[in-house]
């Protein structure tokens, strides 16, 4: 019997989940995690004012959201001192990445990224029939020199850099990033993922320059703002590129409560400052727990710490699995040589205590 045929591109795609959710693992293990510190969420949560805003807005949930995200877009433009049509809102950075790829990557077009960088971006590129080119990390950093050199040689449509970096937590300062930007051909779009930007040391992010016609910067409410569940990310850049989202986006895609929650989060910068101190403190706790167990923790400019387990990827995976059995959810990079690390997200004291208790047991089980 003839079946409706998929497009040529869709026919070849696998069914996949770029990240297995902790809920799936909990269902498989048959019990909830004691410490959910694997998805770089913020267990410190959002500002209490955000929760009030959500509860206040709930009664309006029968209304469609504003498809122009007008209030939030204008608030972000004011905050970043750019024009309202230089910012676009999407269903998380993941959703925005899908749109960027759709706008710029046709079948066979190349996106250049680092081997071991954000897998969801790769999912989108493959999903639109694009081709991925990789350069390796230089140690624990994305290799800006190698990326710039490859961009000049391969002439990709897009080059991707995350700063601060995920999954390693490292970062480059503004001079290194600006030097990198200057070396990328003008017809290659630079996708600068700053999802962890609020958590980097002050002065890390280069000033916004929306006159740069090939630079798009992505930001998130999921990390420092503690709103991973609400699905709001935003893109900033020149009008030509930001406006193009209006050619392809799901206009009513950003939920009404999400818009209100993001507005309230942005307005409470005092809370953001306070939570950054908590996150810093928690990074120190993770570092100390790692050291107590003979492992070395990398410096981090994010809300997670990459911990070097000191042997190969298989060994790090064993530790991760033992931790899961002990009720601790963490994740790890999948690509050598990064894969000898596990990636532990910050969290409140009870989560850190659970980690501290589980870690020696996980290591000793993995050692056997």
């Amino acid at each position: 019997m003839p079946l409706p045929p998929f497009t040529e591109i869709a026919e070849k795609l696998p069914e996949t989940v770029p990240f297995v959710g902790p809920e799936s693992i909990e269902r498989r293990l048959g019990r909830p995690f004691k410490a959910r510190i694997g998805a770089n969420e913020s267990g410190f949560g959002p500002s209490p004012k955000v929760l009030s805003a959500i509860r206040d807005a709930a009664g309006d949930i029968w209304k469609y959201p504003d498809p122009e995200n007008h209030e939030l877009r204008h608030a972000l433009a004011g905050f970043h001192k750019i024009a309202p049509d230089e910012v676009s809102i999407g269903e998380g950075v993941d959703g925005l990445m899908g749109l960027v790829v759709r706008l710029f990557i046709g079948p066979g077009d190349v996106l250049l990224t680092s081997h071991g960088a954000y897998p969801t971006l790769n999912y989108h590129v493959v999903g639109f029939g694009g081709r991925l080119e990789f350069v390796p990390y230089a140690g624990v950093h994305e290799d800006l020199d190698a990326l710039a050199e490859a961009a000049q040689r391969l002439r990709p449509r897009i080059v991707y850099v995350a700063n601060p970096d995920n999954p390693m937590g490292s970062y480059w300062g503004p001079e290194a990033i600006q030097d990198f930007i200057a070396r990328i051909p003008e017809d290659c779009l630079i996708m600068l993922d700053e999802a962890y930007g609020e958590l980097a040391p002050a002065g890390t992010l280069p000033p916004l320059d929306t006159a740069r016609t090939n630079l798009l910067r992505l930001r998130s409410f999921s990390k420092a703002y503690g709103l991973a569940g609400i699905r709001v990310g935003y893109a900033m850049g020149p009008r030509r590129i930001v406006g193009a989202f209006n050619r392809v986006r799901n206009h009513f895609g950003v939920n009404r409560l999400a818009q209100q929650a993001a507005l309230a989060a942005l307005a409470d910068q005092d809370y953001l400052a306070a939570v950054k101190t908590q996150i810093e403190q928690s990074r120190k706790q993770i570092t100390q727990i790692a050291q107590e167990n003979g492992l070395s923790a990398l410096p981090s400019a994010t809300n997670f710490v990459a911990v070097d387990c000191g042997r190969d990827g298989a060994y790090a995976t064993r530790i991760l699995e033992e931790l899961a059995h002990l009720g601790i959810f963490v994740r790890k990079p999948g690509v050598p040589p990064l894969d000898r690390h596990i990636r532990i997200s910050v969290g409140p004291n009870p989560e850190m205590a659970a980690l501290s208790e589980a870690m020696p047991r996980a290591i000793s089980a993995a050692d056997q």
Copy 2:
């Protein structure tokens, strides 16, 4: 200076908003609407249990949503008596339509629909380089015979039918729909949009048959369930097609509160039954207001009533604009001959009173 080139398809697309939101009109007019009865939202709102669920879940908003939508998918499968992998959740029916088009419509591929049917679907088809073919409505109904005949002749990749219909509010019974389904070539996907399905007379929707390999049914929490702001729709059909969403969807796209809200809404079928009575009552009020003003209201199986303004599209547009100036938000079909109607959504008594007061003034202004 060279600019990053868009893909061939994206280059040709216009920036657009398929539906201008009432908020945009309010910003233009400089004041809020008194009656928001234009977007087929449900001013009766969702179940109070939904609002409780949202407020209870707010504290968990720092966690990413479950990317598998496991609980909601299983609840819907149980409710509809199908398998959990025969249902997929998306960011509203709009989001799901985008995915279906992406999976089945490549450059030049044809989607067959009715002239004047849902514009957002057309937006997606154009957005993926597809080609639209249209048949006209037969009076106030989508013309199932003409669609089936054109499907046999044009061999489109997808044929689209809404039942009940938007923007006219008409419907076909199960025999007519099943006869239509049987006439569509097996390699053509039937996209059956049942966003208003809960509001049709009992027995209108044909029984679910996920063994039919070319039938996909779309449902929404935006209409009868009163949750337009939460952005949850779902698709039901054979495993091959429903599973394919996992090749292309934004896995973390459905917000955490949205999943909880939809679960609570589905669980409160008593509220749904009660609100259906209110909606029926409101349809009668709209019909009466139309008649009092010398206009004829069409029968409706939805949460809106199409009102025939009796002359041409320009006249109906004048009435709509006068209503807007009087604080009443309604919409209208854009395509002749449907465009001589205005489409008024149901609402609570204050909204109906405002409509009743404004309608004679709008008509008399339009008559001048």
